[in-house]
């Protein structure tokens, strides 16, 4: 379809310049994935420290860690350790969301494959793409700096949780500059994501290959289109929300201060107006990836293509109007709780359509259990688990018992930590041969899957029990009665850690051995346009635009 012997239209940057100034969507995608790898690794190490602390009752790890990281006086180490624990849970959340899952799925894989899948030579605004990347890096620098300046009085870093609720994040709870660093980091990050989303919207609407109508577009492109719209609509609200916090902290306004006629609940409403769509922003790209992988390895087109596409649109829309289910206990009127409860449950309908359509795609297919397929099936299992507990938590009455407990932690880790992360690994193992041109050791990647699947389920499934028994989240210590399941949970985390080592081995091994992948290592099921190109794809693809014929979708 496209020739791989393309002639470069202009000079391509080489060496360091290629990393710093390249406007090529594949180079930028690779850099995004590198940022995500670093972010993910740091966030993961933090979670290991958290699980190590929670293995047994008593405060054991963090006082020493505080002395090590910040040189705290031993006499103050206990209090500093407690605060550091809360800094860790805060930063773990922020990093995993904004510097791991989003850069990996949206900045990384979407940048790499959206132009190729829709038959475009590059993104609509290549230089804007570069700006997005470096804004994200700047944001990461600010977020890291926040760890080393004062947050709560006498402590380092912001420790009020990733939701930044005032008064914890106001001058009352965190008078130091750490929170200001976090706010500015979020500003840069928001600008980066909005610019990136505008780029995707312009690309998908205007640069599809001739003959590729919206209803023939690959589902990953649909997923990114909906995600980009969600980001454009909700991120400005977060920007406004934290700007008000910034002026409250530094310029004497009182948006969130009741003393001046403000209301701390305003923050929660604005935050969750962004925050809830954000969880769909994290998971929708995963839906797109899983659809392609399931279809490829079942050697069948996706079951119910239009239903799949519009289910994502529906999830995006409903997901934007259910935010206050995070706030059932703030004293909302009964009618408001009723609305948010039922609207939240409605999200399960389009999500169910997607789950059943994946199963129907597999049904009667000629399934080959290659590594990406196994990861995708793992995703479907854990995401369904997380979805079911989500419906439980949607009940305003049950939420009174379960909010801010480990049950909630288990729920959102089943959807995010297991769901989104499994989708990321699915994408890595599905597209790695295309991106690098090398095959990886598939047996080891299946071992990686087995260990991570067991480890992560062992980590989070017992947290359901802990939460139902009443163990709250965000505390460094707990009563002895909760010890049993905490021990198992920590053992699970260590098993996951082993699987991460295997992952890095698989990647390094693939680069060392250089087994050529060929244009399409997955066979007849892989029908999207990226498999028509060489592996790795040429620096500029589709000098001659591919022409989409036939009535089928991609």
């Amino acid at each position: 379809m496209a020739s791989s012997t393309t002639v470069d239209a202009h000079d391509r940057p080489r060496g360091l310049g290629r990393f710093l100034f390249s406007t090529n969507h594949k180079d930028i995608g690779t850099l995004y994935i590198i940022v995500a790898l670093i972010g993910g690794l740091v966030g993961f190490l933090m979670s290991i420290a958290i699980r190590a602390e929670l293995t047994h009752p008593g405060i054991t790890i963090f006082p020493g860690l505080a002395q090590l990281l910040h040189g705290v006086d031993p006499a103050m180490a206990l209090d500093a350790g407690k605060d550091l624990y809360n800094v860790f849970i805060t930063v773990h959340g922020v990093i995993m969301i904004f510097f791991f899952v989003m850069p990996a799925l949206i900045g990384g894989f979407a940048n790499w494959f959206i132009p190729i899948m829709i038959g475009a030579p590059d993104m609509a605004f290549p230089r804007l793409n570069l700006v997005s990347l470096w804004l994200l890096v700047g944001s990461l620098v600010l977020a890291v700096l926040s760890l080393f300046v004062e947050g709560a009085p006498g402590m380092h870093g912001f420790s009020g949780g990733w939701t930044f609720y005032p008064p914890l994040s106001a001058n009352l709870g965190s008078p130091g500059p750490a929170m200001d660093f976090v706010i500015l980091a979020l500003h840069l990050l928001g600008a980066s994501s909005i610019l990136g989303s505008i780029n995707f919207i312009a690309t998908i609407f205007n640069m599809r290959a001739p003959g590729m109508t919206l209803h023939k577009m690959p589902l990953f492109a649909w997923a990114i289109l909906v995600t980009a719209f969600l980001l454009v609509i909700t991120l400005p609200v977060l920007a406004g929300c934290i700007t008000m916090l910034l002026t409250d902290r530094n310029f004497g306004t009182s948006f969130y201060d009741p003393a001046g006629g403000g209301d701390p609940l305003l923050f929660q409403h604005l935050f969750w107006f962004f925050g809830h769509p954000e969880v769909y922003i994290l998971i929708l790209p995963s839906f797109g990836i899983i659809s392609h992988v399931v279809s490829t390895f079942s050697k069948k087109p996706v079951f119910g293509y239009l239903g799949m596409a519009y289910a994502m649109v529906a999830i995006g829309f409903i997901g934007s109007i259910v935010w206050a289910h995070h706030m059932f206990i703030v004293g909302m009127s009964l009618n408001a709780q009723r609305y948010f409860m039922f609207a939240t449950m409605v999200v399960a309908v389009p999500t169910g359509i997607k789950i059943f359509s994946w199963i129907a795609t597999m049904w009667g297919g000629s399934i080959s259990f290659r590594a990406p397929m196994i990861w995708a099936m793992g995703f479907i299992f854990v995401f369904t688990m997380g979805g079911v507990t989500g419906v439980v938590l949607a009940n305003a009455s049950a939420d009174r018992q379960l909010h801010e407990t480990q049950y909630l932690v288990a729920h959102f880790h089943y959807t995010m930590s297991l769901g989104a992360v499994f989708a990321i690994f699915t994408a890595v193992y599905y597209w790695f041969p295309k991106m690098t041109g090398y095959l990886y050791n598939e047996t080891l990647s299946k071992v990686h899957f087995a260990l991570l699947f067991i480890g992560i389920n062992l980590t989070f499934f017992p947290q359901h029990f802990l939460g139902l028994a009443g163990m709250p989240r965000r505390y460094i210590d707990y009563p002895d009665a909760f010890e049993l399941w905490n021990v198992w949970s920590s053992i699970g985390a260590y098993i996951s850690a082993v699987s991460v080592i295997i992952f890095f081995y698989v990647i390094i091994d693939a680069f060392v051995r250089r087994r050529a992948a060929g244009a399409n290592p997955w066979g007849v099921g892989a029908t999207t346009l990226e498999w028509t190109l060489s592996s790795p794809p040429p620096f500029h693809q589709f000098q001659t635009l591919p022409r989409i014929t036939g009535s089928g979708h991609q």
């Binding site: 505008i198 312009a202 640069m207 609509i233 400005p236 609200v237 009741p258 409403h269 604005l270």
Partner: protein, 204 residues
């Protein structure tokens, strides 16, 4: 691709991008507008227990009799004593009542405070009408000054036809005084006063 087609492409991309920028800017504006918009919405509907402001007393008396309790709180950093003269009143709907709040500045310097207020249960907000209240503006007390502030209010007889109000026998009017933000810092923090706590059992 001919240059004509390229130009058309560029225009189409810019159009899509400008619409997206416009959407983002609109949402940013809306986030700042949300607070005043919500305030207007609450004032208009009594949502969230927001009390109403009335100019004149109602023309007719209603049938039902309800109890109104008075709750008064002072933030920790405002050195005031602030309490209602009576803990509760029983009155008919449509009947205008006056309750006196006694307030004293316990410090040796001038202090200014502003009250946050609402009624509970929330659905009563739409029917709780104030004719006179100290809470409508910021208040100032000189050193050691004490004062008596009246609140003149009535319960709108229209509440009798609201199904949500049928089981409501008691309405609590609550005030919390905060130090006005531009006020000079209060030197000596007086103990927090919640006199109504001592005088009455909390509503179930």
């Amino acid at each position: 691709m001919s240059s004509d087609a390229t130009q058309k492409q560029t225009r189409a991309r810019r159009k899509a991008a400008s619409f997206a920028v416009l959407g983002a800017a609109a949402m940013l504006a809306l986030s700042f507008a949300s607070a005043p918009l919500y305030r207007m919405f609450c004032a208009a509907t009594g949502f969230g227990g927001k009390t109403q402001v009335a100019k004149v007393a109602p023309a007719r008396m209603g049938e039902r009799t309800l109890t109104v309790r008075f709750d008064a709180n002072v933030a920790r950093d405002l050195p005031w004593r602030f309490e209602p003269e009576v803990a509760k009143l029983t009155l008919r709907t449509g009947q205008t009542a006056t309750v006196i709040y006694k307030v004293a500045n316990l410090s040796d310097h001038e202090t200014r405070g502003v009250a946050a207020y609402n009624v509970s249960p929330e659905q009563a907000g739409a029917y709780f009408d104030k004719l006179v209240c100290f809470c409508f503006q910021e208040q100032k007390l000189a050193a050691r000054e004490s004062a008596e502030w009246p609140v003149v209010f009535f319960l709108d007889p229209a509440l009798e036809s609201d199904a949500m109000m049928r089981r409501v026998e008691e309405v609590t009017l609550s005030y919390s005084f905060f130090a006005a933000k531009s006020a000079p810092p209060a030197a000596s923090a007086a103990p927090t006063r919640t006199m109504s706590e001592a005088a009455e059992k909390p509503k179930s």
